[in-house]
């Protein structure tokens, strides 16, 4: 178990990794990556039971699927910092011949990635299938999936949400990154998501809320969520985050969804994020 202070230090380094990867690649998606950094850090460093070396099947392990694949710089940083592959490899992000593809892929054999994602709306279905697959094999470990909020505009999600409730997939914890932003503007402007809480609830899910940018709250709610598994209902955490959290000029806007910082912006961003574990 790590202390809150330790987890915050890891999250700070993860945020530096996000900035530096996108800066070096001159492309990528820093906004959503920064917003979800506390959540994914807490998940991998505090809660998930995984084994190394990585195996695709992950028998007896908790699985994580990233549906909003564009926040790959976050995923890669957390995987590297948790020992799935060498941290130095982060400097290959989005380069030719790299295992760190623009969007996560299994093809290059990057440890920690179990499904390709990028085309949105597919991860929840995969997670429901994996949870049923585990159940069929008497494996009671958990399946986690992270989706974006704009991504919920894809109809496939609602097919999966229906199926998970129908099959009482109760060892599944979905988290929605509810930052309210998407490429063309706010969710409300682009396509209102309406009352997300009521929607998930009416489909039969157990709904939790959390501030995804408070490590204290993330730890508390994830622990609550895990404690509520096995009760006949899938669980969703509607996670309020701020896109770009941790870097002042990237916050409160959708502008940094898919834009990399330049040299000057990178220096400015890094000055706000403590280097705690050594840059790659």
């Amino acid at each position: 178990m790590k202390t809150i202070a330790e987890l915050k230090k890891i999250a700070s380094q993860v945020r530096r990794d996000i900035i530096r990867q996108t800066w070096m690649a001159k492309s990528g998606h820093p906004g959503g990556s920064l917003g979800c950094a506390d959540f994914l850090t807490a998940l991998y460093f505090q809660f998930m039971r995984y084994k190394l070396p990585f195996t695709m099947e992950g028998s007896g392990e908790d699985l994580f699927f990233l549906s909003n694949g564009h926040i790959s710089p976050l995923f890669y940083s957390v995987l590297a910092r948790s020992g799935h592959f060498p941290v130095a490899e982060l400097n290959t992000f989005r380069q030719m011949n790299s295992r760190l593809q623009g969007h996560p892929a299994t093809h290059e054999g990057l440890p920690g990635v179990r499904i390709a994602s990028g085309s949105l709306g597919q991860g929840l279905s995969v997670a429901v299938g994996a949870a049923l697959g585990k159940k069929a094999q008497n494996d009671d470990s958990l399946v986690y999936v992270l989706t974006g909020d704009g991504e919920l505009q894809e109809g496939q999600n609602w097919e999966a949400i229906m199926a998970a409730a129908h099959y009482k997939v109760d060892r599944l914890i979905a988290t929605v990154d509810w930052n309210g932003q998407q490429i063309d503007g706010t969710n409300d402007k682009v396509m209102s998501l309406g009352d997300l809480d009521a929607k998930w609830r009416s489909f039969g899910w157990d709904v939790l809320h959390m501030n995804g940018n408070s490590m204290e709250e993330v730890l508390k709610v994830l622990e609550t969520a895990i404690g509520r598994t096995g009760n006949g209902r899938p669980i969703v955490i509607l996670m309020k985050t701020e896109m770009g959290f941790g870097v002042d000029f990237m916050m409160g806007t959708h502008k940094w969804h898919g834009v990399a910082p330049n040299d000057e912006q990178t220096a400015q961003a890094l000055s706000q994020l403590e280097e705690t574990l050594g840059d790659f």
Binding site: S125, V128, G133, A136, Q156
Partner: protein
Amino acid sequence: MSHWDIYQSTGKKATRNGFGDGLLEAARKNPKVVALCADLAGSLKMDLFEKEFPERFTQVGVAEANMMGMAAGMATTGLIPYTGTFANFSTGRVFDQIRQSIAYSEKNVKICASHAGLTLGEDGATHQILEDIGLMKMLPGMTVINPADYAQTKAAAMAIADWKGPVYLRFGRPDWPVFTEQLPFEIGKAICLKKGKDVSIFATGHMLWQALEAVRQLETEGIDCELINIHTIKPLDSEAVLESVARTGGAVSCEEHQRHGGLGDSIAQLLALHLPRPMEYVAVNDRFGESGKPTDLLEKYGLGVKDLVLAVKKVLSR
């Protein structure tokens, strides 16, 4: 009846029945085989599986995109999922789900698709997909199989359980002559039904029976066709195709699919690159189908026995 002609119909049975029976056998042999179905268990004859292995059957409702994703997730945990719905909803409707979550992610999912092609019949063009082979064969790593009759479909449904990687298994709705029981089935291996010296016919799916009828007819006219069944369109048995065409000097492809992107294109590409020879396509020519009786539709859309006969003669005349 000629000495070579051992391929008499032992009765009519639908290829989808072959799938249902083959799936059941595969599941009895391999406990990792599971099945998902999008509200068509009866149509795909998956009810046999559902009855015997209820705990290994997942009904997903009318939600094919989710079915493909769930299958990918199940495969990730080491299971061998067979998905079942009509060919249209198995491919076109869910192409991106298959592309990203199954093919690119290299998942061991078996996409099993019934009611393909014109022989679906009366339901009409919305359901008569004629583009599915093309869609699936374009995906890197996807194996594409289109068996000819009940027996071959059953054999294929069993064989794919042991074949590593994603598979598209295409079959159909109508009762169709059963005539391949004595033929060995091996994924990726073409089957020569008849040796001949004048022209090579490469037929897949229901069209193998049509081709057989054409070969019989042509024989009475003194034309000696070689008949090869390409049940596995990808990976194509290139060696068998090239070896045959090198001897006969011409090729006719034969499939219940659009000309664009089907078996014919695979063969034409192979010949263009390695052995350019006269070739004709027997396939649907850039049109949607319509309602009608299966065999009437085959006639109307240029897939009749007489069309095959004409195609062979055309190759010989070139």
